[in-house]
């Protein structure tokens, strides 16, 4: 391990790391545009120049590996000058249309200008080079060539990450421009990431553009629930607490405006697929279920739960324990599923279709997996793929009157569509049951056939953990409040358990501790240990995988 000195402090650095990597690890700020840890080194923006003792020239920190006894300074006059001039050169022809630029507030030009430049422009305003503004590169991404600083992050993203090469540098010298070929739009399934990586307002999201100023948004770290990969993301939303939010919007409960990739080298690097990025819109696709009802008649949730409990008890006493069962969703959190398992004494399943077969299957070489549920692995770990055999079998059992009363939790897939057969089977199941509760997020027509209807909090409205395809347990956080009277599944289950005489906390962290004490592989974990980037659980036993 080479010893390097950065600004007078000595650090041990792993061999082969570059100066910028070491600086990032230890929290020394080095400005950069072209370098991105998941796209790689280009060395062209020349913003990360540092002084290295015995090197005559300033060296690019991104492209210079550390060596034994290297003495690096990032804070000398020479370095400051070089960065200040790089900024002046970059801003020469910049339109500075910050007032109408979506990047404003999270723009690396603004930030570095304040931190490292602060100069007055010496370029005549009227003579700045004009370029093409605001045109579509593809369905999700717009380009403003005037704002581009030619860091080529986007070019290299499509070259090295998606290997689709849609974005290129065209022309040379001052005429260099980012663009696409006429007949090849930027439409790969990961196109939105170029907006995340663009450090300035050159690439903006067609979906988010002009919807909100970023400084009114609050970021909540979470995990995508679009498929079993569990990519880490940040949900940007209006704040729910008083004092936040966009003036003029009555968004006291918060509204999601966008999601952006959150770096986790173990899972998704810095990337999201486009479907996952936009999956929060799925929550707006149908009207939300806001209130509980009994055969069409609205009731408060709190009044309904004792009735539900009593009904399950009476089915059990009339027809035996086996007459009661439950169907959960692999989009429910471990906490919700675990309490549900407790309440239904293990008589539950979560399989709607081919989740178990598919949850580890890659849909492409990057991130996407075929199973569009975030928590199939977790449901398996909790032992929910037992003798009940999934939706189809439960339907048969109900039709044979072996099962008479059921709780059905349904969370729609956030990416793609739930298969029509599944909805068909759910309908038939409800029809066949003598008595049913459907607990769901949206006001689906088919759910009204159930006797009881309960609103359930959706993804981003509850806190809990998902275990991804690889057995990594990760925390999804609540960003916004649930619609209407909806409650997270674990809260509903905790209350039912309380009614049955078992004292259960509603705090997800406390529920997780209970999981950790009972579920093999989860031992020793808690929310602190999982942290913002997740923790690996022991692999699923083969016999569960089948």
């Amino acid at each position: 391990m080479p010893k390097v000195t950065i600004n007078g402090q000595v650090y041990e650095a792993a061999k082969g790391k570059t100066i910028i990597q070491v600086a990032d690890d230890i929290g020394v700020q080095i400005p950069r545009y072209c370098y991105h840890p998941d796209i790689g080194i280009e060395g062209s923006c020349r913003m990360c120049l540092v002084e290295v003792k015995s090197a005559p020239k300033l060296l690019p920190a991104c492209a210079t590996p550390v060596t034994e006894n290297m003495d690096v300074r990032t804070d000398t006059q020479r370095v400051h000058e070089a960065v200040r001039y790089a900024m002046e050169f970059l801003l020469l022809h910049h339109p500075i249309d910050c007032p109408v630029c979506d990047q404003s507030g999270e723009c690396w030009l603004q930030d570095y200008y304040m931190a490292h430049a602060g100069h007055d422009s010496r370029y005549p305003l009227g003579q700045k080079t004009r370029r093409r503004k605001a045109f579509n590169l593809g369905p999700l991404v717009k380009l403003d060539q005037e704002r581009c600083i030619l860091c080529t992050r986007c070019v290299r993203f499509t070259r090295h990450v998606t290997k689709t090469n849609e974005i290129q540098v065209f022309n040379r010298a001052h005429n260099s421009e980012i663009g696409i070929f006429e007949d090849r739009p930027l439409n790969n399934p990961y196109s939105g990431n170029v907006v995340d990586v663009c450090p300035v307002g050159a690439l903006t999201s067609a979906d988010f553009r002009f919807k909100a100023r970023v400084w009114f948004l609050k970021g909540t770290d979470s995990v995508c629930a679009g498929c079993s990969t569990g990519c880490n993301l940040r949900i940007d939303h209006t704040a729910r607490a008083a004092g936040g939010g966009i003036p003029g919007y009555t968004a006291t409960d918060g509204k999601i405006y966008r999601t952006v990739g959150r770096r986790n080298v173990e899972v998704n690097k810095s990337w999201l697929c486009d479907e996952g990025r936009l999956s929060f819109h799925t929550l707006e696709r149908w009207p939300r279920l806001r209130q509980a009802s009994v055969r069409g008649k609205q009731q408060p949730v709190s009044a309904l739960l004792p009735v539900i409990h009593a009904n399950f008890e009476s089915v059990r006493s009339d027809h035996g324990d086996d007459a009661v069962a439950a169907l959960a969703s692999a989009t429910n959190t471990n906490e919700g599923l675990f309490l549900m398992k407790k309440y239904f004494k293990g008589r539950l399943d979560f399989r709607l279709g081919r989740e178990v077969e598919q949850y580890q299957q890659q849909q492409d070489e990057l991130l996407r997996r075929y199973d569009k549920h975030p928590n199939t692995h977790g449901a398996l770990d909790l032992g929910l793929a037992g003798g009940l055999g999934g939706l189809r079998r439960l339907r048969d059992l109900a039709e044979k009157k072996e099962v008479r009363g059921m709780w059905i939790s349904f969370h729609p897939q956030l990416v793609g569509e739930d298969a029509p057969e599944i909805i068909e089977d759910l309908k038939r199941l409800i029809e066949a049951l003598e008595w049913s509760v459907v607990c769901t997020t949206h006001d689906f027509g088919w759910a009204h056939e159930a006797d009881f209807l309960l609103p359930m909090a959706a993804w981003a409205e509850e806190k809990g953990t998902y275990t991804n395809y690889a057995g990594r347990v990760q925390i999804a956080n609540r960003a916004v409040m649930p619609a209407g009277d909806a409650e997270p599944l674990h809260v509903l289950m905790a209350e039912l358990l309380n009614l049955s005489g078992v004292e259960v906390p509603t705090d997800p962290a406390a529920i997780f501790e209970w999981i950790a004490s009972e579920v093999p592989g989860y031992g020793g974990l808690d929310y602190d240990a999982i942290g913002p980037s997740g923790a690996a659980v022991a692999p699923v036993p083969e016999e569960v995988l089948r």
């Binding site: 020349r46 020239k57 070089a82 001039y85 790089a86 020469l92 030619l150 010298a173």
Partner: protein
Amino acid sequence: MPYELVLFKNIVDPRVKEIDRYIELGGYKAAEKVVKEITPKDVIETTKATGLRGRGGAGFPTGLKWSFVPKDTGKPIYLCCNADESEPGTCKDRVIIERDPHQLIEGIIIAAYAVDCHLAFIYLRGEFSLGYRVLDKALQEARARGFLGGRIFGSGHDLDIVLHSGAGAYICGEETGLIESLEGKRGHPRQKPPFPAVQGLYGCPTVVNNVETLANLPHIFNRGVDWFKSIGSNEKNTGPKLYCVSGHVNKPAVVERELGVPLMELINEVCGGVRDGNKLKGVIPGGSSVPILRPEECDVRMDFDSLAAKGTLLGSCGVMVMDETACMVRLALRTARFYAEETCGQCTQCREGTWWMEQVLHRIEHGYGKADDLRMILDMCANMKGVTICVLSDACAMPVEAMINKYREEFEYHITQKRCMVPAHAHA
């Protein structure tokens, strides 16, 4: 003692581009001897001993460069002959290519053998269409003779040479830009290190040598180290050298003299003196990328170290002579414009600096200069040097900076009087 031509010995012979004539004049003997009788290691050692320094611009010792090539990587080793000659004021490689191509091919064979390369490339400037035809034919002839191909000269060494025509970009003369271009990419120079000798073409060890550098090799192995070292100004500046003298001299020419010929001798005795008996105003000694010399600085030998001592460079040996009718503002503008056109556009300072510099010089030249403009340009120059991936940025900043510093009164006259100080251009 009159100078004995080496590289240009046969240059006036119209038939020397044919292989028979080249052989008749003693050609390919050196290459044959080298591949059959000398070990690659000794070829490198001999070349080191001659003190031969690269003629492409940087003057890096050729033998030393070869010795950096790692031999045990299991990867192929490539040799690229840099024939992209595009530096303004430079046209020496072209003469070798068009008139004595076998001299170059023989040099490539020797260098390739020295570094254990079996596939060499000639990266030829796109505009050299005659050169392309001549080289292509010469390569065919050499192949037909068994000088190229499998087991060349009946030895155990295989070598072929690929002739590649560039597409007309100056930056593809920079060795890593050349490599990127050969790989079929945009000619964007690479950050160094790693140097091409370690990681070059297709990620393999690669030696890039200039045409003139390679053309020296047959002579070295024909006539020996001592002979080579006897030419030139001193131990560190040895061998014959081609000079491309252009501009305001009576007889502009590409001429050969020893490395280190006195600049004034070159101008006055070889090229017939400054045009029309005019007064000398300045000389750019090494192509457009190097700082200009004022007349009082011209008492200098044309070698790497003597010019460095004067704060300029031998560069590509494009000697551009300016007499009193030359306008330095216009010269600076023309220089900046070239680099603004030719920068590859990767690095911030180079892409924006060259363009900005051209614009400011343009307004000075046309009578719209502002009081602060010179300070601004010098500021730009200072911040374009030493901060970019390749030295094109420096190559723009250095000469312009020198022109302003050395002829400041002309620039100031342009700004304050809004016209040119030189009578011939006074309308401007």
